[in-house]
């Protein structure tokens, strides 16, 4: 069973579907069967109409910000895909094409001094904190201009100055770390919140359990965001999980509210994020959010994703957050020209960034011997 919360504005489809957002005050239980019907594509969101605006609905500026953010994430990942195909990006990378709404929604909602932690599929989560495209592409290409000067690679993007406290390649490892950063904020008495992004597969690893329990008992200002893209690497999550909703159904085990949202609706994500952030900031403790989404590509570059049924993929492509949001914005009355302007700017941005990254040199060898320790050295002996 799923519990929804959302916009004060009720959004419904013209087909009278059973899926709807309800306002923040009134939480309605929606049968999860209906929920999954929607997800599986049996119900469509083509005709979403905003019937009523309210003080809590988003202003245009924020909406445009959200759109821009998603678009920039999209082109960044697309360019990473292209560069990989051109063999300019080596090793592997884990792209989150199709999942932009979650990173963008939170990215706009967060304050600059909030902390984020993400997985190896974290280009977008890092980007939305204010990191440049060139530094991300440069890092993926192993160049000196890279965010980590080529020392970390795709899976370890971090920008301390932007509050992006790292991408972590071991499943589940960063959940306790995110809790620790939240503890630090709590101890220091700031309003900072730690937001932790991870996938559905993470909910089955030990660190998930430890981090959640820990965060709850100490009432830490941390938000755990599970991006459920339905597959844990190459395996359907439902095959390997004891409960139906891998995160939302486990929230009760920690005394937390069960939150299950449409992760491809950036408005929903944004509002969910704001609610959770404000709860955490006022000492209300942690949240566990499950956001349903879908990745357009495989798990990694090595994976063409052939294990997913074609109809499923097709259905989800129809719910691609970008075209759907674009449509919504137009329906809300935003001028197409403003959207086109954003699109042009974004394209120019990514091209410039690509150029910068391609022109950057590989890092000098001597940096491999630096920064093992805080003093910049790597010496273990005298």
């Amino acid at each position: 069973m799923g519990v929804f919360f959302g916009l004060k504005t009720v959004i419904a489809s013209s087909k009278g579907l059973s899926w709807r957002c309800v306002d923040l005050v009134h939480v309605e239980k929606i049968s999860h069967k209906a929920q999954y019907a929607h997800i599986k594509g049996e119900l469509f969101m083509d005709d979403i109409v905003v019937t009523k605006s309210s003080p809590n609905s988003l202003d245009t500026g924020t909406r445009l910000q959200l759109y821009r953010m998603m678009l920039e994430c999209r082109v960044l990942e697309k360019r990473a895909y292209d560069l990989f195909m051109q063999n300019l990006i080596k090793g592997t990378s884990h792209l989150s094409l199709g999942q932009e709404a979650i990173a963008a929604g939170f990215g706009v909602a967060m304050r600059p001094d909030d902390y984020t932690f993400c997985t190896y599929r974290g280009h977008n989560h890092t980007y939305v904190r204010g990191v440049t495209m060139a530094s991300i592409l440069g890092e993926l290409m192993g160049r000196e201009c890279g965010l980590l000067r080529g020392k970390g690679g795709s899976m370890h993007l971090m920008s301390m100055e932007h509050g992006a406290l790292g991408s972590y390649a071991i499943v589940g490892a960063h959940l306790p770390i995110a809790a620790g950063a939240a503890w630090s904020a709590q101890y220091r008495g700031t309003e900072q919140v730690s937001v932790c992004f991870f996938g559905d597969g993470t909910t089955n690893i030990g660190g998930f359990h430890e981090a959640l329990n820990f965060a709850v008992i100490w009432k830490l200002p941390v938000i755990f965001v599970c991006e459920n893209n339905r597959y844990m690497e190459y395996t359907a999550i439902s095959d390997v999980t004891a409960v139906e909703n891998p995160a939302a159904d486990r929230a009760a085990a920690y005394g937390l509210e069960s939150i299950l949202i449409d992760g491809n609706d950036v408005d929903v994500v944004y509002h969910t994020a704001m609610r959770a952030l404000s709860q955490a900031r006022r000492g209300g403790g942690p949240s566990l959010i499950e956001a349903l989404t879908y990745r357009h590509g495989g798990h990694s570059r090595a994976d063409p994703g052939k294990y997913r049924p074609d109809e499923e993929v097709a259905a989800w492509l129809k719910k691609d957050p970008l075209p759907t949001y674009r449509k919504r914005l137009l329906k809300l009355g935003l001028a197409e020209a403003s959207l086109e302007a954003i699109e042009a700017e974004t394209e120019a941005m990514i091209d410039e960034a690509t150029e910068t990254a391609r022109n950057s040199n590989p890092p000098p060898e001597d940096i491999a011997y630096t920064d093992l320790w805080a003093d910049g050295s790597a010496t273990w002996r005298n």
């Binding site: 902390y115 965010l147 980590l148 000067r149 020392k151 970390g152 690679g153 370890h156 971090m158 920008s159 301390m160 100055e161 406290l165 790292g166 972590y168 390649a169 071991i170 490892a173 960063h174 959940l175 306790p176 770390i177 995110a178 809790a179 620790g180 950063a181 939240a182 503890w183 630090s184 904020a185 101890y187 220091r188 730690s194 030990g206 660190g207 430890e210 981090a211 329990n213 820990f214 008992i217 100490w218 940096i367 630096t370 920064d371 093992l372 320790w373 805080a374 003093d375 910049g376 790597a378 010496t379 273990w380 002996r381 005298n382």
Partner: protein, 325 residues
């Protein structure tokens, strides 16, 4: 000077540093209200309050993750892992996350944290609560590793570890908790990366760590009085950073090296030192390098068996005698 036990010196160091720096916080299992299962942290909760001294659930991954997150955001946390064998439970956080993140991120963050743990055998607790695992830590780039042998060094080195800007794994040898020694009462800090020469001799250099230092001292007495062999003893104290200079100097003087290690044989810390000496001091060696270690087995629990497995003064004496001809 005050005479403190090894365990009291732990408390002394933590309170010294917590008084000096309000960013120092401490968490672990049963460390606050109970004062630690080994009574190493009694009185800290009372002095510093529940915000700074916190009991955790049995969640090693959460504990270590928490200190990592806290350390990268401005605090100087201390974590306790109750028995060093339990490092295996949270080894990902230690070896993959804490140890590597500064390096991978081109130095963007640092982790001024200490993870202290009760290490080693001699207490009849059985294999899963008795191993010496300092060699595990030594093998991971990015971790500093400290293992004191006496109360004064506990206080001084723990204080230094807490002040260190890098992650330090601080191994307290549980068999030494009741041992006593003189400890400076004022602010006492012993820098990492300095070995201590316990005694000087001519015939052999014995390099030992933690509880093995005391056994080496007993062996040296026997060697001197009954066999006319005089031994230098070097207490390594700090595996990373390693005081290679002192070790090479002292082995160079005698031409002979014997290491005494509580860890199981393969890839013990002494193997690395033996390798360094073999490479850098080859032309000063007057005999093979000998390692006296626990055999390569998990420690048995029966007292007779455990005592036979851990390096004893008699075994050290015999090894030295064979070496010195």
């Amino acid at each position: 000077m005050a005479e403190l036990t090894y365990r009291e010196a732990v408390t002394a160091a933590i309170s010294q540093e917590m008084r000096l720096d309000s960013n120092v916080v401490f968490l672990g299992e049963d460390i606050a209200a109970a004062g630690g299962v080994f009574k190493t942290t009694q009185g800290l909760l009372e002095e510093f309050g529940p915000d700074r001294v916190r009991d955790t659930p049995i969640s090693e991954q959460a504990i270590i993750g928490a200190v990592m997150g806290a350390a990268m955001t401005g605090l100087r946390p201390i974590a306790e892992i109750m028995f060093s064998d339990f490092f295996a439970v949270c080894w990902d956080l230690v070896a993959n996350q804490i140890a590597k993140t500064r390096y991978m991120t081109d130095g963007q963050c640092s982790f001024p944290l200490v993870i202290r743990s009760a290490n080693g055998g001699g207490s009849r607790f059985g294999a899963q609560h008795s191993q010496s695992v300092e060699n595990w830590a030594m093998a991971v780039p990015g971790l500093k590793v400290v293992a004191p042998s006496n109360p004064a060094d506990i206080k001084g080195l723990l204080a230094a570890s807490i002040r260190d800007p890098d992650p330090v794994l601080f191994f307290e040898q549980k068999s030494l908790y009741a041992t006593k020694g003189d400890v400076p009462e004022d602010e006492h800090v012993v820098p990492l990366g300095q070995a201590r020469i316990v005694r000087s001799g001519n015939d052999v250099t014995i390099v030992a760590l933690a509880a093995m230092v005391l056994r080496a001292e007993k062996a040296a007495e026997t060697l001197a009085q009954e066999h006319g062999i005089s031994a230098t003893i070097v207490d390594v104290r700090s595996l990373v950073p390693l005081d290679t200079k002192t070790i090479l100097e002292e082995v160079g003087k005698t031409g002979r090296l014997v290491t005494v290690e509580e860890n199981p044989r393969l890839c013990g810390w002494g193997a690395e030192i033996a390798s360094i000496v073999a490479e850098e001091l080859f032309w000063d060696l007057d005999g093979p390098i000998v390692r006296v270690t626990t055999p390569h087995i998990p420690l048995p629990s029966a007292d007779a068996l455990e005592d036979a497995m851990l390096p004893s003064p008699a075994r050290i004496v015999e090894a030295v005698r064979q070496l010195v001809d």
